[in-house]
Symmetry: D3
Subunit: 141 residues, 6 copies
């Protein structure tokens, strides 16, 4: 088993600040156990608190639905090559309805644009003038 | 203006292999002019052909809708910091209905997971056992 | 001039949520004008608020001093190749006392470990057992 | 155990060029065993020699102290996701006085700026004019 | 053993589209067993087909010889820190004649330019005018 | 014109340590003017000296020829998206014989493996046992 860089904070060992976050994670996510990620960063309670509060707010339903957000999280994690994150977000996305077919298309898109990103950089392609027309560019807000 | 690494292939100068791809790009996308990206890689016709054929197939409607695919493309491009690609895919996504509100949420998610990716790596967090349960893992290998 | 992806929010056009953040940025930093970064993300007020609140908390003096934190920010930004961020954090660090000599040493360290990171990956080097001894591994917290 | 890409060079098997470097590593660092990184790259003696000489010079005390340099090394390694490097530099930093509290703040800064780096890129934010004022810009070019 | 994100497709379980690709991989490469990479992406047959067809075309002898192409693949994979890819392409390159001496020089170059890439970015160096002279820049645009 | 982070060191303003390196760069490369990269890092003479000495040694003919080394440098720089480096190494490679056809194949390989790197990571593919057989693994450790 991989040893984390710090001693993870078990639920029984959590001080009040950490315990409050752990309780909110379990209630919000409907889970019984705290994932290893949160246990690791809990060694520094402000990091745990800020990270959880931000993530909770960002992943709430809004203009984008939760499954779309998890797929975007997978795309970012695959581009960065973060194993924990790929596995974590794929597990969450599957609960929200991600099928193998969708995963295959997601991977196709992620792979493709990691390729074209490098081609656009390597050829030093000038952005097209058409990209700069904005629907709202009639004036300052 | 930024000079590309190769002399871009204008429409009037395209040989038959390049012209066939250019015609298909314009017909498929419903556009009148070939974007700079395709003009640059057209200096090597097999690269143009392969890249266009793959992209055309991947971006066609499937298990994921075109707007979701463009948002994933933006997420990848933002993570890699590719200006051409960010501008290109955002322009495409706006045509498909991406609003400023959706762009703001997309950026929030992309920013957040670029942060947590590094935390998961830096703390060397062990993936949770729960991530390894697959809906289809009774299947053949 | 580079056009941002959204219409930046000028100070005169800021709604109450954005204005409150802008006022806090100016008071906390002791500056008269809102930097372009905040104006851009202000198009999505929750992203502005969360990002500023987190940054303000993180950059406050703590176990690490502000100059060290800015140098770490430069190291991250140089590794990622983000021009805005390199220029922004270097400007902040110079105000806090970063000299050219310190910048040269910082760059030497950043360059060096971007090199050795790839060597360690490319050679697939096994972490030494000695790295796993922790000062605090005598027991769970 | 992970197998390196090449047969590592044990101390008993080192030729004169490698042995000289190994001896200097042990003397400079005050250690008894050669870490795996050096054993791996020792298969190509000029790479070992150049890498060690550069690292030795860069990590010597100067305008930045050794602990600051190791924290910068951790920041680079976490941004790149290099496990060996994260573990190695964190072990070195702990010997130099890095506490869990400092590690938590370091991680907070590294995570934060990996997020804002992507936001600055994704929004294509123009650097502020204020960033371009240099203390020494009256000088020769 | 690391569990892949999907159930890999064994040769006995391959449908006709996958089987056709598997047969072509074995014939083209002169191997008896399908590597794990292809088995994983075969869960989404169009991804398998497109990826194999592109790779087969790209790696065929052309203006660059196959060993040079494999070394470039190693350079990309080392820069991205992809273990599977580093191991896979190094195994292929060794079959094509890559010696330990060549691997050491390859790594030296890869390490070096990962360093100078960051220095060029961090110092925000302006490209020299001399870089923009092209042998073919009398041509049409 | 892009302003570098430090005042570049012109040839007329170089102190003895910098001048010695500048003279060696011009003699070794057969050029009349010092490229901007070296002028920038010359603000910190030890960084200039170390970087030049390492680069000079690495790029000398050895088991790999200079053109191959420049192509590897392009591959690394394109993967990292470093404009200065892409332009600089492509200019050098063209002098050594890189044709547009070779550049097109190089880009095809670089693009392709940036794609498959992400697929291998995203699918969490286990390296094949065959990759671990080394020609020299009878040797000492």
């Amino acid at each position: 088993m991989r040893q984390a860089m710090v001693v993870p904070v078990g639920e029984a060992d959590a001080g009040p600040e950490v315990k409050a976050v752990y309780d909110d994670i379990k209630a919000t996510r409907g889970i019984d156990a705290i994932p290893n990620f949160w246990r690791a960063i809990a060694h520094h309670p402000p990091l745990l608190r800020r990270t959880w509060e931000t993530l909770k707010e960002i992943m709430a339903p809004g203009a984008l639905d939760p499954l779309t957000k998890e797929m975007i999280a997978i795309a970012v994690s695959a581009t960065n090559g973060c194993e924990y994150c790929i596995r974590s977000h794929t597990a969450s996305a599957r609960k929200l309805g991600l099928t193998d077919e969708m995963f295959g298309e997601l991977m196709s898109v992620v792979g493709m644009f990691n390729e074209t990103n490098r081609l656009a950089e390597a050829y030093q392609v000038e952005p097209d003038a058409a990209f700069f027309r904005r629907a709202d560019d009639g004036g300052a807000k």
